[in-house]
Symmetry: C2
Subunit: 242 residues, 2 copies
Amino acid sequence: MKLYVVGIGPGGADQMTPRARAAIEASDVIAGYTTYIDLVRPLIEGKELLQTPMKREIERCQSARDAALAGKTVAMICSGDAGVYGMAGLMHEVCAAHPDIEIEVVPGITAACAGAAVLGAPLIHDFAVVSLSDLLTPWEKIEKRLACAAQADFCLCLYNPSSKKRADYLKKACDILLTARAPETPCGYVRNIGRPGECGTVCTLAELRETEVDMFTTVFIGNSQTRVIGGKLVTPRGYENK
Amino acid sequence: MKLYVVGIGPGGADQMTPRARAAIEASDVIAGYTTYIDLVRPLIEGKELLQTPMKREIERCQSARDAALAGKTVAMICSGDAGVYGMAGLMHEVCAAHPDIEIEVVPGITAACAGAAVLGAPLIHDFAVVSLSDLLTPWEKIEKRLACAAQADFCLCLYNPSSKKRADYLKKACDILLTARAPETPCGYVRNIGRPGECGTVCTLAELRETEVDMFTTVFIGNSQTRVIGGKLVTPRGYENK
């Protein structure tokens, strides 16, 4: 019994690995959020589909597990990497009582890496990745992480920086960063990474605070050494000679 | 004038994206650390090679820049992702005075993602990436980052956890984590990610402290919620019902 959890990368076929493609092709059943399934549509003709809307993650994993238990080879599709805010963890949790299901996590390019490449090289050195979604994490915990990351001079990549219900969370996050970092700290954000309409913007931390982003955007905050070089956001590797 | 900085992923051709492959194929000149060039040997027959040994990163980038200035299309090869401890940042720095060189960073699968997939799903939620190499970063800064990450309950991925000169750095790092996390915190490490001899091990933080790893190893430290499920290292997405 084989169950792949597949990271398909940011979206385009040119950023999906051959290993991810092979896992999808080897599967009888394709599970995933409808939008992600659409991204691999050309690969899945004739296969059985288990589509669920967003926020039905547990159901989605249970359906995939049940298909595997029924003897089918299943691929659960995730955008980006399966192991960064993806389904790899929940899939292991849901299959805990079924050690006969072999789960293979197939990594993909996550938005931190794909978005950093669009902006230049903001995450070249130590960095932290934080989701601003408080659906599953108390906001106090998120604030604590932002404060500690600010204090430790980590570059930051923020996932889920906004939604309709959380319109001011990025502003709150910037305020926490501003307690430890200069308003002119170079930052940036990328919308629709690796998809049509991809657009990267470089700005300052003060400007980022006043920016409204949507849920298709990934945000990058530089550390004390980050600079703008030729319009690109670049964190030097080293701290000597600075 | 075109200069690609290409992340080829952990090693095998099946984890390199078509976009990375196309960038290499489109280039006249291939630059990089000899070991990484060997990983793409089948793609570069007949191309000009600029090979340099390790620790000659500035020279390597300058040679690549000079080849681009001479009108050649150049690909600088990095293992993993070009933007995570890769050459993307230095390449921008070295080309700062030459805005006519178009630098395109091609992302790849970094060891944090590839290694996490081997172990299960340790980085499914907020995490920090820290290099234990103090060649370019003062050790005090590294300690500060580890302490802040421990305090903020970040999962951690450690790059460059050891070398001949830094045999006890992982032990020191574990001691810092142990001030905030239980000795039985689930951890793991992966050797030769995505290459022949790939080997993942799950252990506790106390056991990790006593483990000797080499420079081909990436280390993962769970947060307060991380568990071992079916021999795999899994961090739950959410904090509710815990």
